[in-house]
C-alpha cells in the first residue's frame, strides 16, 4: 500500500517536473495580445466600433475597456474569432455599432466633385487621390469601404457601391449537408 502511494507520488512528481520544464523550454513567444487582436480585425478603419481605427479598438479590447462585438465589418465571424482568441463567450454583434454589410467601395462622381480635399483628409488609408480644386478619385484596390469619406463631402458626390462578384473572386459554396433532419 505504502509503496503504491510512493510510486504514484513519484510518478506525479516526475511528470510535473517534465511538464514544468516543457512549459519553460517550449514557451511560444507569441505576439503581444494587441497584435493578435489587431490581426483579426478587418482593418477597415471605419471607427464604427467607437474607436479611431482598428488598432485603438484592439488596445481597448486588450485592456478590457471594450467588448468584442463592436466591429460590424468583421461580422459574426470576427466576433467568433475574437471569442476564440480571448476565451470568451460568443455574442452577436451589438446593434448600436452597426450591422454587417456586403463589402462596398467608395466611388466619387467626378463630374460633381469640387476638389475640396475633405474626403482625402477623412480617408484613413489614403485611398483617395486629388489635389486642391481638382477632381478627386478613389483608388479602388486601396479602398476599405469604411464610408468615412461619404459624410464630409460637401456636395454628396461619394457613393458606396457594393463590390460585384467576378470569376476571380467567385467561391464554391459549402456543400449541403443532408444528414441532419430539417428541424
Amino acid at each position: 500500500m505504502f509503496t503504491a502511494i510512493l510510486v504514484m507520488a513519484g510518478i506525479a512528481i516526475v511528470l510535473g517536473l517534465t511538464l514544468g520544464y516543457a512549459a519553460i523550454r517550449f514557451k511560444v513567444e507569441g505576439d503581444p495580445l494587441v497584435e493578435k487582436i489587431d490581426a483579426i480585425l478587418p482593418q477597415t478603419q471605419c471607427g464604427q466600433c467607437g474607436f479611431p481605427g482598428c488598432k485603438p479598438y484592439a488596445e481597448a479590447i486588450a485592456n478590457g475597456e471594450a467588448d468584442i462585438n463592436q466591429c460590424p465589418p468583421g461580422g459574426e465571424e470576427g466576433v467568433r474569432k475574437l471569442a476564440d482568441l480571448l476565451g470568451r463567450e460568443f455574442k452577436p454583434l451589438s446593434e448600436e455599432h452597426g450591422v454587417e454589410k456586403p463589402k462596398s467601395i467608395a466611388v466619387i462622381d467626378e463630374q460633381v466633385c469640387i476638389g475640396c480635399t475633405l474626403c482625402i483628409q477623412a480617408c484613413p488609408v489614403d485611398a483617395i487621390v486629388g489635389a486642391a480644386k481638382q477632381m478627386h478619385t478613389v483608388v479602388e484596390p486601396l479602398c476599405t469601404g469604411c464610408e468615412l469619406c461619404v459624410a464630409p463631402c460637401p456636395v454628396d458626390c461619394i457613393a458606396m457601391v457594393p463590390v460585384a462578384e467576378t470569376v476571380q473572386t467567385w467561391k464554391w459554396k459549402y456543400p449541403v449537408v443532408e444528414i441532419r433532419k430539417a428541424a
Binding site: D38, Q43, Q111, C116, A132, L142
Partner: protein, 565 residues
C-alpha cells in the same frame, strides 16, 4: 528506359463509355446564327477588345489583343459582322458573365490573309509570340497558354504528348489521333524543337487501340515513341501521365520544367501545327457530343458556338435533365445553355437520371480509407474532409489540401457518399478569399499606420513652425515696443479663412448641383474668365447638339485651373 512504365498510387476504373461517340468520323459543325466569343478564356487570362460594334471581320482576324503575362490572342472564328460587345455568361460553374464579342456570320466564311510561319528562320521569341498571337492554349481543358508553357527552351529532356484521355465518355482526342496523327506529330515535333527536348513520347491509354495504331503508324521511322499506358483514371492528368511515362513526380505548384519534362495535349499539338504550317490561329476545336442523345459523335466546332446550337446536332433524348461540360469526373453542369464553346471545351454530355443517377444522401465518414486508397496524389481525403467540414482551413492545408487535383476519385469510391471534392473546392476558394482579404487588411493597416505617422509629423512640423513664427513675432513686437500680441491668435485666424473657403465651395457646389457645371470662376484673371465665357458659349451649342456634353465640360473646367495652381 525503353518501355518501362511506372505506376501512380490509387486511381479508379469507371465505365469508359467511349464507344458511344468514338465510332464516327469528325464532322464539321454548321455555323450558328450568332457566335459569342469570350475575350476572357480562363479565370486568369484575358484579352483587350480591338474591334468595334458594326465592324466587319474576316475569319481568323484578331479581335482580342493578349493582355498580361497569361493572355493570348482571340480571333474571329468566321467572317461576319460584330453585332455586339457585351457581357455574356461564361463556361464556368459560376455562370458569371464575361465580356464577349458577338459575331453574326455572313456565311461566306472568308479567311483573312494568312501565311505559314517559318519558325526555323525566326528567333525563338518570335515563334513564341506567334503562338501567343495565334491564341494557342492547352486544349486539354486547363487552357494554359502554350507560349508560357514552352518556357525558356532549355533543360527539358522529354516532351510528352498527352493522348491518354482518361475521363469517361470523352473521345475527341481519340478521334483526332485516329484521323490526323501525322499533323499531330508534326505539331509535336515543332513543340519539341521549340522547347529543346531530345525525345518525344506519346502516351495513349490502352483502351484506344485504333488511336495507338494510328499514332504508331505515323511515328514509324522517327525516334518518337508511342506508348500505350494502362487505362486507369486519372492517367491523363498531366502529372500522373508524366509519372507513368518517366517515373518523375512533380509536386504541387511546380511545372515539369524543373524536372526535365513538359507535357502537351494532342489537340494542342494539332493547333500548333495549324498555326505554324498553315498560319491559322486557333478558332475551332473538336468537341465530343455524347451521353443521353440520339446521335453522339465528334464535331469540329467554331469557338463561340453556343452550346444550345450544338445540342441540336446531338439531339438529346427527352429525359435529359442536365447538360455537362467536360467529363463526368471533373466537368460541371452548365447553369444555362447559351454558354459558348471555348478553347477548353472538350465534351458536352447530355445527362439523364438513368446515366448519372443522383448521389445517395451523404452519410457519416466511417474512416474506411477507401478514398485514401483511390487518391492518385496519396492524400488522406477523409482528414481533409474532416477539417474542411469544420472550416479548419489551416489544418486542411497542413494535410496538403492544395496538392489535391480535384480528380474526384475519392468521391467516386466513398461508401458514405460524401461529396469530398466539393468540400475541397469549397476550402480552396475559401482559403484564397481569405488570403485576398488578409493582403487587403495588411495593406490597409500599413497605410493607416503611415497616415497616422504622417499626421503626427505634420502636426509636429506645424507646431514647430508656429512656435518659430511666434517667437519671431514676439521678438519683433518686443523690438517695436508694443505690448503682448497673443501668438495663439494665429491659429483661429488660420482656421477661419479655411472655413470661409469651404462655405464658399459649398455655395458653389449648390449651384453646381443644379446644373452640372463648374462655376468656380471667381478671382480668375480677366483673360481666363474671358476664355471660360468662350468655352461656356461653345458648350451651350454642343449641349444642344450632342447628348453627352459631360466629358468636355470636365475638361474645360480642368483646363483654366491649371495656370493658377
Amino acid at each position: 528506359m525503353i518501355g518501362r512504365l511506372f505506376k501512380f498510387h490509387g486511381g479508379i476504373k469507371p465505365d469508359a463509355h467511349k464507344n458511344e461517340s468514338s465510332g464516327g468520323a469528325i464532322r464539321k459543325a454548321p455555323l450558328p446564327a450568332r457566335l459569342v466569343v469570350p475575350l476572357r478564356q480562363s479565370a486568369r487570362a484575358g484579352a483587350a477588345c480591338i474591334v468595334a460594334v458594326g465592324q466587319r471581320v474576316l475569319k481568323g482576324e484578331r479581335i482580342g489583343e493578349p493582355e498580361g503575362f497569361l493572355g493570348t490572342g482571340v480571333h474571329a472564328p468566321t467572317s461576319g459582322t460584330v453585332a455586339a460587345i457585351a457581357s455574356c455568361p461564361m463556361a464556368h460553374p459560376s455562370g458569371l458573365e464575361t465580356p464577349c464579342v458577338v459575331i453574326e456570320p455572313d456565311g461566306e466564311d472568308r479567311w483573312i490573309e494568312h501565311a505559314p510561319f517559318d519558325y526555323r528562320a525566326a528567333s525563338r521569341d518570335e515563334a513564341l509570340a506567334w503562338l501567343r498571337d495565334c491564341g494557342i492554349v492547352g486544349l486539354g481543358g486547363a487552357t494554359f497558354p502554350s507560349h508560357v508553357k514552352l518556357g525558356r527552351g532549355s533543360g527539358i529532356e522529354t516532351l510528352i504528348l498527352n493522348g491518354a484521355e482518361c475521363e469517361p465518355w470523352i473521345t475527341c482526342d481519340d478521334r483526332l489521333m485516329r484521323e490526323r496523327a501525322v499533323d499531330i506529330l508534326a505539331g509535336a515535333n515543332i513543340l519539341r524543337e521549340l522547347i529543346g527536348a531530345r525525345e518525344l513520347v506519346v502516351g495513349v491509354e490502352d483502351n484506344k487501340p485504333e488511336a495507338v495504331a494510328a499514332m504508331q503508324a505515323a511515328a514509324v521511322g522517327t525516334p518518337t515513341r508511342v506508348v500505350a499506358v494502362p487505362a486507369l483514371y486519372p492517367a491523363g492528368g498531366e502529372k500522373q501521365l508524366i509519372r507513368v511515362l518517366t517515373g518523375v513526380e512533380i509536386p504541387y505548384g511546380k511545372l515539369g520544367g524543373d524536372y526535365g519534362v513538359r507535357c502537351f495535349n494532342v489537340g494542342t499539338a494539332h493547333a500548333v501545327y495549324r498555326a505554324f504550317i498553315h498560319g491559322e490561329p486557333l478558332i475551332s476545336r473538336i468537341v465530343t457530343l455524347t451521353g443521353n442523345c440520339e446521335t453522339p459523335g465528334n464535331w469540329e466546332v467554331a469557338i463561340g458556338t453556343p452550346v444550345a446550337d450544338l445540342l441540336a446536332l446531338a439531339r438529346p433524348k427527352a429525359d435529359t435533365d442536365r447538360i455537362l461540360m467536360g467529363g463526368p469526373m471533373m466537368g460541371f453542369a452548365m447553369p444555362r445553355l447559351d454558354v459558348p464553346v471555348v478553347k477548353g471545351t472538350n465534351c458536352i454530355i447530355s445527362a439523364s437520371p438513368r446515366l448519372f443517377p443522383p448521389a445517395p444522401p451523404e452519410q457519416p465518414c466511417i474512416r474506411c480509407t477507401e478514398c485514401a486508397k483511390a487518391c492518385p496524389v496519396e492524400l488522406q481525403p477523409f482528414e481533409l474532409y474532416w477539417h474542411s467540414r469544420s472550416k479548419n482551413f489551416g489544418k486542411a492545408q497542413e494535410y496538403h489540401l492544395f496538392d489535391c487535383i480535384e480528380c474526384g476519385c475519392c468521391t467516386y469510391v466513398c461508401p458514405a457518399h460524401i461529396p469530398l471534392v466539393d468540400y475541397f473546392r469549397f476550402s480552396k476558394s475559401e482559403i484564397w478569399a481569405r488570403e485576398r482579404e488578409k493582403t487587403a487588411a495588411d495593406q490597409a493597416r500599413e497605410r493607416f499606420e503611415f497616415r497616422n505617422f504622417r499626421q503626427e509629423r505634420e502636426k509636429a512640423e506645424k507646431a514647430a513652425k508656429l512656435a518659430a513664427k511666434a517667437a519671431e513675432t514676439r521678438a519683433k513686437l518686443a523690438e517695436a515696443g508694443t505690448a503682448e500680441a497673443p501668438a495663439a491668435a494665429d491659429a483661429p485666424a488660420a482656421e477661419d479663412p479655411k472655413k470661409a473657403l469651404i462655405a464658399a465651395a459649398l455655395a458653389r457646389a449648390k449651384a453646381q448641383k443644379a446644373e452640372i457645371q463648374p462655376q468656380n470662376t471667381d478671382n480668375l484673371s480677366p483673360q481666363t474668365q474671358a476664355e471660360i465665357a468662350d468655352i461656356e458659349a461653345r458648350r451651350k451649342v454642343l449641349e444642344a447638339v450632342a447628348a453627352t456634353p459631360a466629358p468636355q465640360a470636365a475638361e474645360a473646367a480642368a483646363a483654366p485651373d491649371e495656370p493658377r495652381s
